[in-house]
Amino acid sequence: MDDIAQRCIEIIAKSKGIAPDSITLDSTFDALNIDSLDKINISFEVEEAFSIEIPDEALGTIKTVGDMVNGVAQLREKHPPAAVTTP
């Protein structure tokens, strides 16, 4: 599992208070008992973690953990994080 998937799962697990290993890419938000408020909260945490902004219209299409991971990957391709410069 790649880093994006790992971090998304960790965020969902922390938010819902469930074990990370109970979450897979195929897990649906419904099955994880993620309601609309949870989804907003998880999306915020994901945005913070990856320095991205999830468009409103995309949020509605996310039904599974895999959807979220793919969406994050696409947004990161469009807007890669700035390279860290060291002195």
Binding site: K14, S15, G17, L37, I40, N41, F44
Partner: protein, 409 residues
């Protein structure tokens, strides 16, 4: 009209997060006031405050009590409220005996989710950051009332009362009237507050009413209040239902009085406080000579304590100097919207155990007040009637009249 008794108690306070711990500290005089820790919303920013102490709830980990989805969507004040309400409901076994739509939740909270509000606002003003999407649900003052309702499945009337430092007492008084009138058969009622944020303390600091040392009500050298936080909740129900199901009965609420000073936004007026006490006694069909204990608002400011003493003298006349009085704020601090509920809990425990709590912190009693302030140790006594006073900024006064439970006609 129904007689209304207290059948459940709950609390999360600076002197204990169980009623047993609260009671032990109350009667041993162990204070919860201590130097405050770092502020998460303003790390390292304690300079500039004239005071260094507050009464904070120690070692409260919401994850020990609440599922993570609730933790993330609530402020500390709501978390206190849920935990205290659960204790009160579970102790009284309330919901096994009352229909959920026949139970009210009436709680006091004046400040709302201060910590969430300040943390998010600090981010917004100091860097290019976004506000957390649950800030609205964390900060709304009625969140505590709503979450108690959701947590316990109570579908009757649910209200939050915001009347500054009288909020908790107003809430208990209104709940008492609702049960007495038969509008509901039971209520969860009390107050909750978690206002110990940097901005809130700075605001109080600017008013110069917070003690740079430590709160000591009725002391000649008193120099202000000490701010606190916490929650106390009571289960109220009709005597009939309590007896029918053999519920434990801790005390009987018999009267509630409210008044407004119509005077000044911060300066209290003795006439208003005296009127609220008089109305509470009238509501209780009782006379001033029956009062054997007053749990004072007693903030430790020069103005409050002198005004409250004057009000007691106005109402009780020559007997004023003989009525035992104490303020418990030197133990649990002044927790604004919650404090009246903490003091109602203290009064109920005092009546139930026949011990009136001492007024901690006094170095030398202020002789000009001419009150019988209970000093040094709790006083063994069994008063037939007690008053619990709350006198808020803005002149909003609320007083409860409470009796030890006795099964008289």
């Amino acid at each position: 009209m129904n007689r209304v008794v207290v059948t459940g108690l709950g609390c999360v306070t600076p002197i204990g997060s169980t009623v047993e711990d609260f009671r032990t500290a109350l009667f041993s005089g162990a204070t919860g006031i201590a130097p405050f820790p770092d502020f998460p919303e303003a790390p390292g920013e304690t300079q500039g405050l004239r005071f260094t102490q507050s009464a904070r709830v120690k070692d409260f980990d919401p994850r020990q009590h609440l599922e993570s989805g609730i933790v993330v969507s609530t402020d500390r004040t709501t978390q206190f409220a849920i935990v205290a309400a659960r204790q009160a409901a579970q102790q009284s076994n309330l919901l096994q005996h009352h229909a959920s739509d026949n139970v009210a939740i009436i709680v006091g909270c004046a400040c709302g989710g201060r910590q969430a509000e300040e943390t998010e606002t600090a981010k917004l003003y100091t860097r290019d950051a976004r506000v957390h999407p649950l800030t609205v649900t964390r900060t709304m003052a009625s969140a505590g009332a709503s979450h108690i309702s959701i947590d316990l499945g109570i579908t009757g009337p649910v209200l939050n009362i915001s009347t500054a430092c009288s909020s908790g007492t107003h809430a208990i008084g209104l709940a008492f009237h609702m049960v007495r009138s038969g509008m509901v058969s039971a209520a969860i009622t009390g107050g909750h507050e978690a206002p110990l944020t940097f901005g809130f303390l700075r605001a109080w600091d600017s008013m110069r009413v917070v003690s740079p040392t430590q709160c000591r009500p009725f002391s000649a050298d008193r120099d202000g209040m000490t701010l606190g936080e916490g929650s106390a909740m009571l289960t109220l129900e009709t005597l009939e239902s309590a007896q029918a199901r053999n519920a434990p009965i801790y005390a009987e609420i018999v009267g509630f009085g409210m008044s407004a000073d119509a005077h000044h936004i911060t300066q209290p007026a003795p006439e208003g406080a005296a009127a609220a006490m008089r109305k509470a006694l009238k509501d209780a069909n009782s006379s001033p000579d029956q009062v054997g204990y007053i749990s004072a608002h007693g903030t430790g400011t020069q103005a409050n304590d002198a005004t409250e003493a004057a009000a007691i003298h106005q109402l009780f006349g020559p007997r004023a100097a003989q009525i035992p009085v104490s303020s418990t704020k030197a133990l649990h601090g002044h927790s604004i919207g919650a404090t009246g509920a903490l003091e109602a809990l203290a009064t109920i425990l005092a009546l139930h155990h026949g011990q009136l709590p001492a007024n901690a912190g006094v170095t030398e009693i202020d002789p000009t007040l001419n009150l019988d302030v209970i000093l040094n140790a709790p006083r063994e006594a069994s008063p037939q009637l007690a008053l619990s006073n709350s006198l808020a900024f803005g002149g909003l006064n609320a007083v409860l009249a409470i009796r030890p439970f006795a099964n008289h006609g």
